[in-house]
């Protein structure tokens, strides 16, 4: 990865895994036996989070089915003029009509990604209920009235800082000074 200034690790690998497992348990608590629930990761960075959570829930409840999809929001962004984003694959192999949908992403910051994700979701049908599951919530920085239902870790950060979840050999969440 590129050289980062003032890097602070806010979650080590052990804690990251523990938190992801806790989020999974919270989802199980609210949604078991998952009859009418589906899980949707937001492309691209929400996918490692949703992969982990869905796999972990599956390992705890092998008898249950977990409808799991991936949603690309590129065409719904409100900021794409500055920089064109290359679209990722949207893969929703089920209908969301009337379902409880859990959106999963890594970092919640301004809320604009989630706004776009909800617009994208609506174009696939009318979900019964939409919930939001987030690994890292950057508090006090929202630009839209969006709040998560499941939070891995809440942090305070300032605008110039960036938060990144790293899924390499060493998994961790870091906070660093962004170059902007």
């Amino acid at each position: 990865m590129e050289k980062l200034k003032g890097v602070n690790t806010i979650m080590e690998e052990d804690q990251l895994k523990l938190t992801l497992k806790r989020l999974s348990h919270e989802l199980i608590e609210n949604h078991y036996p998952f009859d009418n629930t589906c899980f949707i990761g937001i492309q691209p960075r929400g996918i490692p989070v949703s992969d982990f959570i869905v796999q972990y829930m599956q390992s705890l409840h092998p008898e249950c089915k977990f409808p799991y999809g991936k949603l690309d929001i590129t065409f719904y962004r409100d900021d794409f003029r500055g920089q064109i984003h290359i679209p990722n694959i949207t893969d929703l192999p089920f209908s969301i009509e009337g379902k409880k949908v859990v959106l999963i992403d890594d970092v919640l910051y301004t809320g604009r990604t989630i706004r776009a994700a909800m617009d994208a979701l609506l174009d696939h049908g009318r979900a019964g209920k939409v919930e939001l599951c987030i690994l890292v919530d950057r508090k006090f920085s929202r630009e839209l009235p969006i709040q998560p239902d499941y939070v891995g870790k809440s942090i305070d950060s300032i605008v110039t800082q960036k938060v990144k979840v790293i899924w390499g050999n060493e998994k961790k969440v870091v906070l660093y000074e962004g170059i902007s």
Partner: protein
């Protein structure tokens, strides 16, 4: 990540990476078009004028649908019934339209280079929808998408372009694109309709024997005889052309492999392509039309990202 050019004037100006980016984006738009709601809000703040100085069915409908699927506002202009017949120049017409705050221009013109001329004089992004006998870039892109969908790529694939090469902008754009993407190209048709020195200029093969081209290729892109652009006699009659260069079911069945048949439309049935070939399972002509919308969405989407203020 964006296109290296502000306009899409021709495939000639594009890099290989640009072509890959457009095709990859088009595949995602194709996915959008399969959904119950076939519309995304990407271009809802963009206004596009479709400026058609020459007749068109497919290209025009396809561009208009692509614009609507991207939530852009569109206006349609055709030369007939406009002030062009009162003597207004191209630049005046376009500047008048742009002063009403239009961001992009999709343009077809019978004069070669008309969009290139405009690009030097106006700030809006221009998409060439066919200029004279020069280029028709979105057609080449949708042809490329259709070929790579069926054959799994373009690199090393053998494409025959058959018919009126001389007057065809589809042929030229396809040659540029296929060569850039590493495909092999053979041109076939009557000697009078294949420009001299094209073999040397583009590194393509040339044959005057259609059967030979068909035996060699994986895909045959069959072109229409563009009678409207021919001001001299280049072959004796349409009937004779059909006998010598037309593609019949019998000819296709006599090959030892099954090739794909493409045609940019409109087809002159019984001239370059017999009806039973155009409607056979080997024909991917309607795939091409379907892919056209997705490709044009990709082009408009990628160019709109470089929007500059026109005010």
């Amino acid at each position: 990540m964006h296109l290296s050019s502000k306009h899409l004037l021709g495939i000639r100006d594009l890099h290989r990476e640009d072509i890959t980016l457009i095709l990859d984006t088009a595949r995602q738009f194709k996915d959008v078009l399969q959904r119950p709601i076939k519309k995304v809000p990407s271009l809802r703040d963009v206004t596009i004028v479709n400026l058609f100085y020459e007749n068109s069915t497919r290209t025009r409908i396809s561009f208009e649908l692509a614009e609507k699927r991207l939530s852009a506002d569109t206006i349609n202009f055709s030369a007939s019934g406009s002030s062009v017949s009162k003597g207004e120049t191209l630049l005046d017409t376009v500047n008048n339209i742009l002063s009403m705050k239009v961001d992009m221009v999709v343009m077809r013109h019978s004069a070669t280079g008309a969009p290139h001329f405009l690009a030097q004089h106006i700030p809006a992004a221009i998409v060439n929808a066919g200029d004279g006998i020069n280029e028709h870039p979105t057609q080449a892109l949708l042809d490329a998408l259709s070929i790579s969908e069926r054959l799994g790529g373009l690199e090393g694939k053998k494409v025959a372009i058959i018919g009126d090469i001389m007057h065809s902008r589809v042929a030229l754009s396809n040659i540029y694109l296929l060569k850039k993407m590493g495909a092999e190209v053979t041109l076939a048709g009557p000697p009078t309709l294949i420009p001299k020195y094209i073999r040397e200029s583009f590194g393509v093969n040339v044959t005057y024997n259609v059967r030979e081209a068909l035996e060699w290729c994986d895909v045959a892109n069959v072109l229409r005889i563009q009678l409207e652009r021919q001001n001299q006699v280049l072959f004796s009659s349409l009937r004779e052309y059909n006998h010598a260069y037309g593609i019949s079911k019998k000819l296709l069945d006599s090959l030892d492999k099954e090739i794909l048949i493409m045609h940019p439309g409109p087809i002159n049935r019984g001239v370059e392509l017999d009806s039973d070939v155009a409607d056979s399972g080997q024909s991917i002509i309607l795939d091409q039309v379907e892919n056209g919308v997705a490709v044009r969405m990709a082009v408009l989407y990628l160019l709109s990202g470089r929007k500059e203020s026109t005010s």
